[in-house]
Amino acid sequence: MKHISLYILFLCCLGFFSCEEKADGGFTILTEEIVNVNGTRAIILGRILAFQNVAVQEHGFQFSLTADFSDPIEIKMGERSRPGNFVGETESLSLGKEYFVRGFAQTESDLVFGNTLTFVTLEPAVERIFPLTQFEGEIITVFGRGFESSSEVFFGETKAEVIDVVFGSQIRVRVPKRQESISIPLKVVTGSQVAFAENHFRYPTGTYELLDIRLEGIRLRDNIYFQKGNTFFVGLGVDFSGNIFSEIYSYTQGENEWKPTNYPGLPKRKAVSTRTGYFGGGFQNIGISATYSDDFWKYDNGEYRQITSPAFRFADAIGAEISGNFLAIGGLLEVGSLVREYNPISESWNNLPNLPFDVTGDLVNFIYQDKLYIIDKDKILWEYNPYTASASAKTVYPSPFIKTVSDFGGVAIVMGDKAYIGMYNSAREFWELDLRTFVWSAKNPFPGEIRAVNSGIFERDGQLYFLRSQQPADFTEFWRFDPDGF
């Protein structure tokens, strides 16, 4: 009995230590979230929930087309001991199918499954083609979804060279040789499925014709131009000898020559002008200390009529006629964002809110539905409402700019719901912009001499006409452009 307490202590110790055993411990598998599903790819997040380390010999996910997981696709991620997240990714699913997925973990004795989630893989689809118009041999990108890496692209029945398939959603493809039609349906074949583009791919169009009615002995820059019906006007500015040119010429369709119009005002270069016949300001002569030319004019009903001059000086500014009023905007002489409006009824000038940025006359601009559009030196096309002072970026001019080389001197004109923009300095690119969708379509490049200055652009009966003052010569070429010709 005298050692009974020792025996009791010994038994207690045995009892205490006998509870310590290395156990796997209970755990739960959670199929937590479907992170992302694309055509053939799915990423699933799972979690092992436990209060201690676990002895898992294998874990991962099972994917199956049936709820009973017969013949599953398994992603195995090896053994692990710590609880926590695990991520499974597979790219071997079929397009447009409903899948069941669950996490699993294999221990020495058990195979434990998590809850089941379902998802549907995406069917392939073509959303858009960019650019929609492209030259043969160049590359376009087909945007969509569910594209396998082995996808094929067909222009009509012609299989095109696929450059690469990126992220299952973009296919870069080389445009095959031009076919009989300029508008071609495009389809993507991926796996056993076919996806069609909603819009047809288009080969570029546009034909240029050099007319035999050139302005002989006249080569202009810093000039103005406008149009009245079927009569085109061009003049003022600086001539090929570097002298101020103080006449305006006109050409009426059907005639075979440009005629002087007996402009009565002060000579001008870098005058502010609209395409509708308002003009004024600018400089009277050449040089740094040139004199401001302060008269303003409106050409209407076959005559020049002088209008009130504004209290501010405008030179190399943007001119626009919006809602029947003449707007003079920015320029070099005053604040470059200043906007003044001439009301022909009250014959007075009013202040309008400033532009959000400075502008000069060399920025390509046009008017559409009483809004002013300007392409800045960063190629952004801004839509501007001068009455609410709201500006919004709409799109980006597609051709590259070279600073101080090809970022000025371009032309723009609106015909219907389309604007024709391009032929910047030392560049041949010419683009059509759909003003309802802001989608650009390339036109055939200008084939003539690029060492020339655009002196004017006009439109009549679905055709464009433009003047190009040749730099090495002393004449101005007169061109006609058919946007749909090919």
């Binding site: 979230e33 479907i34 992170v35 992302n36 599903v37 694309n38 055509g39 990423i43 997040l45 710590r82 926590g84 997240n85 695990f86 991520v87 990714e89 995406l122 689809a125 959303e127 945007f143 969509g144 979804r145 569910g146 992220f167 299952g168 959603s169 973009q170 604040v335 964002s337 809110p353 400033n354 532009l355 959000p356 002072a389 709201s390 500006a391 970026a393 980006v396």
Partner: protein, 358 residues
């Protein structure tokens, strides 16, 4: 004289002392280096604009300088919706990625952010589904003065208050973020004096003819204003959504606060609340303990890799309020004097923003 019987005992104690000393060795402590953790900050909203995502590698914070956060350059960054549509982002400056075009998110759609680093590591965010944000009906503001530890100096600022009605049928989470704002900067060019290095007349008065008033842009003050509708579900509410401290320059004339009213989900709300809690620590014993704040981005290569930051996909309502000095009860006094042309201050211009309409 020492007794011979005590010698072994003395030797025994000496042995113990030697044993104790011999065990002491220098223990050099080194904190665990988590490495440079990838950090993601991005927001994709229903506003039509160019959206940005910032990627960087966070450096370890501690007594030793470990370098600055490094931008994560040359990564491939894309936003993908649940219909498979992909928007690629371009790197516009180191670590800053921007959508190439003006794009907007759609309500009801889910968006993932996917990142492939230059070294090939892949990251993806959890899908963020966009729910409509209850619209703010109006904004008001009030100036407030609060005591500081300096008895002679009070903290003065302006609270912006949003008035809206929370829809009762759904659980809503709100996040009000500040954006770049503009204020009228008033300086004193007439008090300009020459610099001390002036060759002929140092520190002499030399009034400048221009300019006294400019428009200055500034980045928002970092504060997190997020809320759920637990306390006001279905009720009309007036809540503080921004606080702009008066630095003596901001409220000399007119301040235009610009912000965003954003819808977020429960996960995003928890993330913001934890961040707010952590950046509000004061070192007090009542502070909450430091937390490991998980975002919604994780690695596809190693799910246990810590990725900091959050990718928000939100419905966004742009909000704006003109704060006029004459309506403020308190302003910082005396105001800050800048005896120079206002244009010399960073981000100031004579030209007002295009839509400036106080």
């Amino acid at each position: 004289m020492i007794s011979t019987s005590k010698i072994p005992l003395s030797l025994f104690f000496l042995f113990l002392v030697c044993l104790g000393i011999s065990c002491i060795e220098e223990y050099s402590f080194e904190s665990q280096d988590p490495g440079r953790m990838p950090t993601v900050e991005g927001r994709f909203t229903t506003q039509l604009k160019k959206h940005q995502v910032r990627l960087s590698r966070a450096s370890q914070y501690g007594p030793d300088f470990n370098g600055l956060n490094r931008p994560e350059s040359l990564a491939t960054v894309l936003i993908r919706d649940d219909l498979g549509k992909t928007i690629l982002l371009e790197e516009i400056s180191p670590g800053v990625y921007e959508t190439a075009d003006f794009v907007s998110a759609e309500i009801g759609r889910s968006y993932n952010l996917e990142i492939i680093t230059f070294t090939g590591r892949r990251y993806i965010s959890l899908p963020e589904t966009i729910v409509p944000v209850p619209k703010i009906d109006s904004l008001s503001y009030r100036s407030v003065r609060s005591a500081t530890t300096n008895r002679l100096l009070s903290d003065v600022g302006v609270q912006v208050i949003a008035h809206f009605r929370d829809p009762g049928d759904v659980k809503n989470y709100y996040y009000w973020a500040g954006n770049e704002s503009t204020y009228v900067l008033v300086t004193q060019p007439e008090d300009f004096t020459n610099p001390p290095t002036h060759p002929t007349c140092p520190r002499c008065p030399n009034p400048k003819p221009c300019c006294k008033t400019c428009y200055r842009k500034e980045q928002p003050v970092v504060n997190i204003y997020a809320s759920d509708d637990n306390e006001f579900n279905g009720l009309a509410q007036s809540r503080i959504i921004a606080y702009i401290p008066d630095d003596g320059l901001r409220f000399l004339d007119t301040y235009r606060y610009e912000g965003s009213n954003l819808s977020i989900n429960e996960r995003g709300h928890r993330f913001l609340k934890l961040i707010d809690q952590q950046i509000s620590l004061t070192g007090s014993v009542f502070d909450p303990p430091p937390a490991n704040i998980r975002g919604n981005v994780f690695s596809l290569d190693d799910a246990n890799e810590t990725v900091l930051g959050y990718f928000f996909a939100s419905d966004e309502q742009a909000i704006q309020a003109y704060i006029k000095r004459e309506n403020l009860e308190f302003v910082l006094s005396p105001s800050t004097k800048v005896p120079d042309d206002c244009r010399v201050l960073l981000n100031s211009s004579l030209i007002p923003p295009a839509d400036w309409n106080p």
